[in-house]
C-alpha cells in the first residue's frame, strides 16, 4: 500500500541550510514506496534564497510558506468576526497567563480530543489552549486576515485583561505595555501557520498522515490538519523545541514578563501537540524525558534513534574484528573542538596516562567550532599540550615531535573520518555537555573500544559496550584508558560488542524501518475518514466499504486478514529488498 505522508518542517528539510535535512532526506529516500508531500516553513530570506536540496521522485509536491515576512492581507474584520477573534484570543491569552496551580472549571469542550486519553497531566489547561487555538484557526479559515488581527489593539487588550486577571502568573502581572506588544508580535509570528491555505482543497486534508519533524511551530499545521480533516499526526523530536526555546530565550534581551508569557505559550503549545499526536518519536531518552515532563502520554512515545551511515565505517569496523591492527599505543579523540568538549581535561588525563604508559600518543582530530570561541579554544589547547608534553624524539639525531597531535580530517595523516577512528586503539570522549554523541556512535561503528564521560545520551548509546567515567574527572578517565591500553583482548571484545550494538540500533536502515512501521501502525489505527465524492462533488454512496466503519477496535481484536481495510489489500511491502525464500533458507 502507498501511504501519503505530509512531511512538516520548519526551517528544515528541503532547504539547503535546513535543520535535520540529512535525516529527512534519508527518510524520504529510504521509503520510496510511499508518497511524500512536503510542507515547509522557511525561517529567513537567506534560507529561501539558498534554495532546496535535490528531491527524490517520491516527493510529489512541495509547498512552502515564509515565517519571516511582515505580511498584511488588508482584511478588516467586521463586528462579528472581531468578537469571535476577541473571544478566542482572550481564551488563548488566559490559558497562557494562567498560573500553574490555578484551577479553572470552565474547560471548554475539546471537540477534537474526544477519543484521546483525558487523563493527561495538564488536561484542562491544554484543552483550553487547544480549543482557543482551533477557534482562531477556524476564524482564519472562514475570514482570513488573522495576521492583522493578531497585531491589533483588540489582541493587546485581551492580553492585558488576561495578565491582570486573578490567578494569572505573578510575572505576567508585571507586564507593561511594551511587554504586551512584544508578546503579541511573537504570538503573531508563531501562529502564522494558522493563516496558511494548506488545509483545504488537496492540501494537508488529502494526506494519510502528517509527520512533523519537530515540535512547536512545525507541528502547528499538523494540529490543524488533524482538527479540520482528522489526519493523524506523528511528531518526531530529536531536540525538544520547548527546551530549545528556553535556551534561546536566555540570550534574547526580553523582559521577564515577556519570557514568562512566551514560556507559557510554548509550553501549552507543546502540550497540545503531544496531546493531539497519535505517536511521538523522541530521538533519545533525554528528549523523551522532556516530552513526558511536558505532558506527553507514555503510551504514545516510541524512541527512534537517529540513523547514521554505517557503510563508510564498514571496512574499518570489519577489519577491527579480525585483528587489532591499529597502533596499540594511540588514543584518538574525534569531534568539533569547543569548550563543551573539555579537551583540557583530556590533556590532563593524558598526562596521567603517560605516567603509566610512556609510549602512548594522543591524536586530536577535528576542526574548531564556528566562531572565535572555537579558534581560541583550539589555540588554548595547543598551548596547554605544548606546555604539558615536551617534544620527544627516538634518539639524539632524530627530529622530535609532540605526543599530542592536532589534526583535521582531510589532512595527510587522516584522509577520512573512518581512518581517524582506525588510527587509534581507544577512542576517548571527554565532553562535559553532550546531546546525542555522534562521534561515539561512529567509534562504535568502527569497532573501537571507547572511554567516555557520563554526559547526555552517552550511557544510553554505549549501553555497556565501553567504559564510562564521570565528567570532569581526568584521573578516572586516565585510569580507564590505561586499563584498556593494557588489555588488548578486552579492547577487542568491547569493540566488537560496540559495533554489534551500533549496527543494531543506530543505522539508517533501522531508523527508516522504524518509521515505516510507525507509519503503517498509525494509518491502520487511525485511518482518515473521507467522504468520497463523484465528479459533481456529490457524496458517493458506498464509496467507502461498510467494514471501514465497524465500531470498536477491530484492528486489534481480530487478526488483520479478516478485517483488513480496503487500502491494505495488497501484500505488505518491506522496507528492504525481500530476500528470496530459498536464499534465506540456506
Amino acid at each position: 500500500m502507498v501511504v501519503r505522508i505530509g512531511l512538516l518542517t520548519e526551517g528544515g528539510y528541503p532547504y539547503v541550510s535546513g535543520d535535520a535535512r540529512l535525516w529527512c532526506d534519508r527518510l524520504v529516500r529510504g521509503l520510496g514506496q510511499h508518497e511524500f508531500d512536503i510542507y515547509a516553513l522557511s525561517r529567513s530570506e537567506r534560507q529561501e534564497d539558498e534554495g532546496w536540496i535535490q528531491l527524490p521522485p517520491q516527493v510529489s509536491r512541495v509547498r512552502t510558506a515564509p515565517l519571516w515576512t511582515v505580511e498584511d492581507d488588508g482584511v478588516v474584520y467586521g463586528r462579528r468576526a472581531r468578537r469571535r477573534f476577541a473571544d478566542a484570543y482572550g481564551e488563548l491569552a488566559a490559558a497562557v497567563c494562567e498560573g500553574p496551580g490555578a484551577p479553572d472549571g470552565s474547560a471548554l469542550g475539546g471537540g477534537a480530543g474526544a477519543h484521546d486519553d483525558p487523563a493527561t497531566s495538564a488536561g484542562v489547561e491544554a484543552d483550553r489552549f487547544g480549543s482557543a487555538l482551533y477557534a482562531l484557526a477556524e476564524l482564519a479559515r472562514d475570514e482570513g486576515g488573522l495576521a492583522g488581527a493578531l497585531r491589533s489593539e483588540g489582541a493587546v487588550r485581551a492580553l492585558e485583561r488576561a495578565c491582570r486577571a486573578p490567578g494569572a502568573l505573578r510575572t505576567a502581572r508585571t507586564a507593561r505595555v511594551p511587554d504586551l506588544l512584544a508578546f503579541a508580535s511573537h504570538v503573531e509570528r508563531a501562529l502564522r501557520p494558522l493563516s496558511l491555505d494548506w488545509y483545504e482543497g488537496d492540501g494537508l486534508d488529502s494526506v494519510d498522515l502528517c509527520h512533523a519533524t519537530a515540535g512547536g511551530t512545525a507541528a502547528l499545521p499538523g494540529l490543524l490538519a488533524r482538527h479540520f480533516a482528522g489526519v493523524p499526526l506523528l511528531v518526531t523530536e530529536y531536540g525538544v523545541q520547548l527546551r530549545a526555546h528556553y535556551l534561546a530565550s536566555a540570550t534574547v534581551g526580553e523582559s521577564p514578563a515577556v519570557r514568562a508569557l512566551l514560556a507559557g505559550f510554548h509550553g501549552r503549545l507543546a502540550a497540545e501537540v503531544y496531546r493531539a499526536a497519535a505517536l511521538i518519536t523522541p530521538g533519545n531518552t533525554h528528549a523523551r524525558r522532556w516530552q513526558e515532563r511536558c505532558g506527553a502520554d507514555r503510551a504514545k512515545l516510541r524512541t527512534v534513534y537517529p540513523g547514521m551511515e554505517a557503510s563508510r565505517f564498514a571496512d574499518v569496523g570489519e577489519s577491527a574484528e579480525g585483528s587489532g591492527c591499529a597502533d596499540p599505543d594511540t588514543l584518538v579523540w574525534v569531534g568539533r573542538i569547543e569548550p563543551a568538549k573539555d579537551l583540557i581535561s583530556l590533556l590532563h588525563s593524558f598526562a596521567e596516562i603517560r605516567k603509566e604508559e610512556p609510549k602512548t600518543r594522543l591524536r586530536i582530530v577535528g576542526a574548531p567550532a564556528d566562531g572565535p570561541e572555537g579558534t581560541t579554544y583550539l589555540a588554548h589547547c595547543r598551548a596547554l599540550a605544548a606546555q604539558l608534553f615536551p617534544d620527544e624524539a627516538e634518539g639524539v639525531h632524530a627530529v622530535g615531535d609532540n605526543p599530542v597531535s592536532f589534526e583535521e580530517i582531510g589532512g595527510p595523516e587522516v584522509p577520512s573520518l573512518a581512518e581517524a577512528y582506525a588510527s587509534g586503539a581507544v577512542v576517548v570522549l571527554s565532553s562535559v555537555v553532550e546531546g546525542f554523541p555522534i562521534s561515539l556512535v561512529e567509534a562504535m561503528f568502527c569497532g573501537r573500544a571507547t572511554v567516555s564521560t557520563d554526559v547526555g545520551a552517552v550511557v544510553e548509546v554505549i549501553g555497556g559496550t565501553g567504559l564510562v567515567v564521570p565528567p570532569r574527572n581526568p584521573r578516572a578517565l586516565a585510569e580507564a584508558c590505561v586499563t584498556l591500553l593494557r588489555d588488548p583482548e578486552r579492547r577487542e571484545r568491547l569493540g566488537a560488542a560496540a559495533r554489534a550494538r551500533a549496527l543494531e540500533l543506530f543505522t539508517v536502515e533501522q531508523n527508516v524501518a522504524a518509521f515505516h512501521g510507525i507509519y503503517l501502525e498509525i494509518v491502520s489505527h487511525s485511518p482518515v475518514r473521507r467522504v468520497v465524492v463523484d465528479e459533481e462533488g456529490e457524496p458517493l454512496p458506498f464509496g467507502v466499504p461498510a467494514e471501514a466503519h465497524v465500531p470498536g477496535r477491530w484492528t486489534e481484536v481480530r487478526p488483520m486478514a479478516v478485517g483488513r481495510p480496503r487500502w491494505a489489500a495488497g501484500a505488505p511491502v518491506r522496507a528492504t529488498v525481500p530476500v528470496p525464500a530459498g536464499e534465506g533458507a540456506r
Binding site: R43, S44, W68, V76, R151, E153, A155, V156, E160, R170, T171, T174, R176, V177, L180, L181, R189, R243, L247, S249, A250, G253, S255, P256, A260, A263, G267, P339, I344, A351, E352, H380, A383, Q387, V432, V433, D454, V459, E460, I462, G463, G464, T465, V468, V469, P470, P471, N473, P474, R475, A476, E479, A480, T483, R490, R493, L494, A497, R501, E504
Partner: protein
C-alpha cells in the same frame, strides 16, 4: 583549581559560562586541575574503574540498553559523586579550602556544606534569578552538563525536581531586575529632517519663476514647477516619520493632488464661474500652495516629535488606558503646534507674494493632509482614504453644481454654493469641506493613534 574555585565562589563574578571559565582557569593554572584530582580523588576513580568494569558485563547483551551497565554505573556513581560533591562543597566552604592548603586532604573535610543545592544555586545564581519557571532552570542546568545522575547527588530523582527546588528557593524580585533598555536605533539617518525642506524650496523657486516669466515660457515653468514639487514631495516623504511605505494607493494620491490643485486654482475658478466666466485665465492662488509645501518640514518634525514622545510614554506606562490618556493630549498638542506653524507660514508667504492669505481654506487642507499622512504612516489607511476622497469629491461637486446651474431649469443646483460664497467668500468652500474632513480625522485619530498597537515597533525578521 584549588586556588581558583575556593576564593571565587563566595564573591567572584559568576557567569553562565562558569564551566568554560573553569576550563580556562584550569588551563591557565597549568596543572592545577590535575594536581587536585590527583590528590583527592584517588579512591573515587578507583571505585569508578570498578564501576566501569561492572558495566562491561553488559557486553553480551548488546541490544538491551545496558541494564547491567546502569547498575554498574550506579555503583560507580558513589565515587564520582563524592568527588563532585567535594568540589562543590569546597566551593562554598572556607573550611574546605583551608584543609587543602594544609595539605590535609581528608575527603570528609571537603564534604563541608550540608546543603549542596545551595552551592549549586550559587553557581547558577544568574540562571535562578532570571528563570521564569522551573523548566528554564532545568534546561539551563542540562546545558551545563547536569544530568539526572548528577541530580541524584542532590537527593533528587531527576533534573526537573532539582530545578523545581532551585526555582522555589531562588529569590526572584521581578522589580529589581533591570528592564532591558529600549534598543536605540542608533545610526538612523536624520536626513529626512533636512529633506523635508525640499518641496518648499522647489515651490518657492517655481513661484518666483512664474513671477518673472510671461507667455509660453511661463507655461513651461509652471509645468516644470508642478513636476518638480511633486517629485520633491515624494522623495522627501519616502523616509522619516511620515513615510507611508506602500500603503498609499494611487486613488488616494490622486485625490490629494486634486485637493492641492483646488487650493491653487479652485477659488479663482469658482468666483469666475459665479460671475459668469471664466473668460481666459483666472488668477492663481500661489501663496497657500507655497505655504503648504513649506509646511512639509514642520509636519515631519511634528510627526517625529509625536512618535518619539509616544514611544517614551509607551515604555513608561503600565496599562493601555493609561497610555491612551497620556497620548491624547500629546496628539492634540502636536496638532495645534502644526496648525500654528502653518498659520505663520501662510501669513509669511502671503506677505512675500503679496496675495490675500487664505488662512481657513489652506489651514484646513494642511490639517487634513497631516492627519491623513499620520494615520497612514501608522497603518490606518482606510479612514484617510475615505476622507480624502470625500473631500475631493465634494469640492469637485461644488464646482460642477455652479456650472450645472447654468443649464436651463437647473439654477437651483447652484444655490447652495452661491449662498455660501455670498456669505463668506469663495475660500469658504474648501475651508468647510476640508475642515469637516480634518475634524472627522482628528476625532478618528484621537481614538486610533492613542492605541498602543499603533506604536509597536515591527519585529525584524530574525
Amino acid at each position: 583549581m584549588s586556588e581558583t574555585t575556593g576564593p571565587r565562589a563566595p564573591g567572584g563574578p559568576h557567569t553562565l559560562h562558569d564551566l568554560d571559565d573553569l576550563d580556562d582557569l584550569a588551563g591557565l593554572g597549568g596543572g592545577g586541575l590535575d594536581s587536585e584530582d590527583a590528590g583527592d580523588s584517588g579512591d573515587a576513580s578507583g571505585r569508578d574503574a570498578g564501576g566501569a568494569s561492572d558495566r562491561e558485563a553488559g557486553d553480551a547483551s548488546g541490544g538491551a540498553v545496558g541494564g547491567a551497565g546502569r547498575i554498574g554505573e550506579s555503583a560507580g556513581r558513589d565515587g564520582g559523586g563524592a568527588g563532585e560533591r567535594k568540589r562543590k562543597g569546597g566551593a562554598s566552604s572556607s573550611e574546605g579550602s583551608a584543609s587543602r592548603t594544609d595539605g590535609a586532604r581528608r575527603p570528609t573535610a571537603r564534604r563541608g556544606a550540608a546543603d549542596p543545592v545551595k552551592a549549586l544555586m550559587h553557581r547558577h545564581r544568574e540562571l535562578c534569578e532570571r528563570a521564569v519557571d522551573p523548566l528554564e532552570i532545568a534546561a539551563g542546568l542540562e546545558a551545563h552538563g547536569v544530568t539526572d545522575r548528577t541530580a541524584t547527588r542532590f537527593r533528587h530523582r531527576d533534573v526537573f525536581s532539582l530545578a523545581e527546588e532551585m526555582y522555589a528557593r531562588a529569590s526572584r524580585d521581578g522589580e529589581h531586575t533591570p528592564r532591558p533598555e529600549e534598543p536605540e536605533r542608533s545610526g538612523a539617518r536624520a536626513d529626512w529632517a533636512v529633506l523635508a525642506l525640499l518641496p518648499g524650496v522647489l515651490c518657492l523657486a517655481a513661484t518666483l519663476g512664474l513671477r518673472v516669466t510671461e507667455g509660453r515660457p511661463r507655461l513651461a515653468v509652471a509645468a516644470a514647477g508642478v513636476l518638480a514639487v511633486t517629485l520633491g514631495l515624494r522623495y522627501a516623504l519616502r523616509r522619516g516619520p511620515l513615510s507611508a511605505g506602500q500603503r498609499t494607493t494611487g486613488a488616494t494620491r490622486g485625490w490629494m493632488c486634486w485637493l492641492v490643485a483646488y487650493a491653487l486654482l479652485g477659488d479663482g475658478l469658482l468666483s469666475a464661474a459665479l460671475d459668469g466666466g471664466p473668460d481666459g485665465p483666472w488668477p492663481l492662488a500661489t501663496a497657500p500652495v507655497l505655504a503648504l509645501s513649506t509646511a512639509c518640514a514642520p509636519a515631519a518634525w511634528c510627526a517625529q516629535l509625536f512618535v518619539v514622545s509616544a514611544r517614551r510614554r509607551l515604555t513608561a506606562s503600565r496599562g493601555l488606558d493609561e497610555f491612551a490618556t497620556t497620548v491624547r493630549p500629546l496628539l492634540l498638542g502636536v496638532f495645534a503646534l502644526f496648525l500654528c506653524t502653518l498659520g505663520g507660514l501662510l501669513a509669511l508667504s502671503a506677505t512675500v507674494l503679496d496675495e490675500p492669505p487664505a488662512y481657513t481654506g489652506a489651514g484646513a487642507l494642511g490639517a487634513l493632509l497631516l492627519l491623513a499622512r499620520l494615520l497612514t504612516a501608522r497603518g490606518f489607511t482606510h479612514a484617510p482614504a475615505v476622507m480624502l476622497a470625500g473631500a475631493g469629491a465634494t469640492e469637485a461637486i461644488a464646482l460642477a453644481t455652479v456650472f450645472a446651474g447654468r443649464l436651463p431649469g437647473c439654477s437651483f443646483l447652484a444655490t447652495p454654493v452661491e449662498t455660501v460664497v455670498e456669505a463668506w467668500g469663495p475660500g469658504a468652500v474648501p475651508a468647510l469641506v476640508c475642515g469637516t474632513a480634518a475634524f472627522v480625522l482628528l476625532v478618528h485619530s484621537t481614538r486610533t493613534l492613542t492605541r498602543a498597537s499603533a506604536h509597536a515597533l515591527p519585529i525584524e525578521a530574525v
